[in-house]
């Protein structure tokens, strides 16, 4: 039981670290490249405009999709590793 509890706690910490990492990328693609850092990226041109515009209208959405699938895949691994997966 004590071991179970330790494993479960370690699983939750691993999940929190994974979420934190994913949310950094989430914020960087939208609030970062798409909005706040756009002036810095204005030198990189993409089809008649700049990279920041692309991130705001396309790149952020594609990043979000990749993030969710990465998270779902990684969590399945963690579920198994820490033995908390569903039967």
């Amino acid at each position: 039981m004590a071991d179970d509890k330790k494993m479960a706690e370690a699983y939750w910490q691993a999940n929190l670290r994974l979420i934190a990492g994913c949310l950094v990328v989430w914020a960087l693609a939208s609030y970062g490249f798409g909005i706040l850092l756009r002036p810095m990226l204005s030198g990189i041109s993409v089809g008649g405009t700049d990279l920041g515009f692309w991130f705001a209208q396309q790149g952020s959405i594609l990043t979000f999709i990749a993030l969710i699938f990465f998270y779902a895949w990684r969590m399945n691994q963690l579920d198994n590793k820490y033995g908390v997966h569903e039967e």
Binding site: I19, W26, G34, T49, Q57, F64, I68, A72, M75, E87
Partner: protein, 588 residues
Amino acid sequence: MSQFAINLIFVGASFALYIGIAIWARAGSTRDFYVAGGGVHPVMNGMATAADWMSAASFISMAGLIAAGGYANSTFLMGWTGGYVLLAMLLAPYLRKFGKFTVPDFIGDRFYSSGARLVAVACLIIASVTYVIGQMTGAGVAFSRFLEVDSSTGLMIAAVVVFLYAVLGGMKGITYTQVAQYVVLIIAYTIPAVFISLQLTGNPIPALGLFSEHTESGMPLLAKLDMVVRDLGFTDYTADVSNKLNMVLFTLSLMIGTAGLPHVIIRFFTVPKVADARWSAGWALVFIALLYLTAPAVASMARLNLLNTIYPAGPTADAIQYDERPNWIQTWEQTGLIKFEDKNGDGRIQMYKESPAFAATAESRGWKGNELTVNNDILVLANPEIANLPGWVIGLIAAGGLAAALSTAAGLLLAISSAVSHDLIKGSINPQISEKNELLAARISMAVAIVVATYLGMNPPGFAAQVVALAFGIAAASIFPALMMGIFSKRINNKGVICGMLAGLISTLVYIFLYLGWFFIPGTNSMSNTPDNWILGISPLSFGAIGAVINFAVAFAVSAVTEEPPESIQELVESVRYPRGAGTAVDH
């Protein structure tokens, strides 16, 4: 065949399909009615979630908003998709593990308080009812334009169809009709976009066409569009925004509002396993992205097409004669959504931006003011006509717009009726109610909700446009923080969460009312709603994110000075964090 007959065939066929599904997927138990039996495949649920989420606002209005605002309105694209990342990581899997039927169920149990449950029910009902009004009016517009019935008759037809599959089938009927509606709406949105992208850039994929060369001029499409709008005094389409704080907060409000909308969250209660809830959020976003990646292309291409129609020889040459205007302008003029006034009496349609900087140019060209006003909402609906596409594409758009409005309306109505029958009647008024009677109560409250929504759709309150902001503000400032704290903190207690929810809700409402009128009564606003008056430049529509911060802060502060939650609640929080032992959604 007349355009009317074509539209009738497309809309009629799609409605027949929805009714057929309703008869096939009847609900036999409360589990069927609330969570579709809990056995929906994650990909299927993703598709249903996409239709549930993409409303008349996404289908009809969003491209028009982006066309008008350019880069500045990218907020809608990021805000209405980024929320799914939060859902997938912060809410959906844990709420699925908790395994109950509704959102207030979780708040009531986790915070061991019927008061918290009632506050959650109130937030849910306000957010969902305001949202559903927009769907019903959207359906009314589509009916009146394409089927030449007046919008009240159109609304009645829509209400009867929704009634059939939502009341009979509950979540089960809604899930499978939403899958069909997703297919209809995505085809309807994509086909005209592909045609237009081919015409303008030669690239069949609109999302790539957006960044390709404009065939006619040999310039990149966006550079060409920037040039045309600049010649008419408008801000560059791709121009950067100076008030970045407001842009960030608005996007954040839309994201956390999306994650906190109950009709979206309950869709994740229908999948078999916790892991499925995570995958399903990913699939939902894939299906949503098919429309959201296309929308910005539709926006820029439609704006270019529109200006090319008005100025066939380029923006610096003469505009088109009013007598020679294309048919689609004539048809939309009848709806009042396009208006023309020949201010300088030259018989031509001048469309430009009136501004001090452009006044001299306008003067020298003999222009006496902008003569054409085009409502943002018609852009997607008129798109096939602007690009001269065949009649069947127009019929498809009609069916697609209705699918978007009806699928969202049904999801919202289910969230409302389950809050009433499950949380109010079973949870508070009569806990001893039998399964059979609860199912009956759910059907009756669904029917009442449809009648109310239809009535409000026919007599939309004057504030219809503002209330969508209200729905997002409420979801962002009250529901999302309460759910997140319930999962990620063991320390937040009943007093903390109630104070937090009320503080978030009230501060958001007050900030909105300050600028949009107290209780939306026109003329009662305390300050005029212009960027100069906004505190720190924060628009009332962006305040949901601040409301959420206030909610978190108050909940932590109050919990810190009051007692810890009981042991059993801390164990409940533990248990939602681990997938093991999820089982299917169960009743109390």
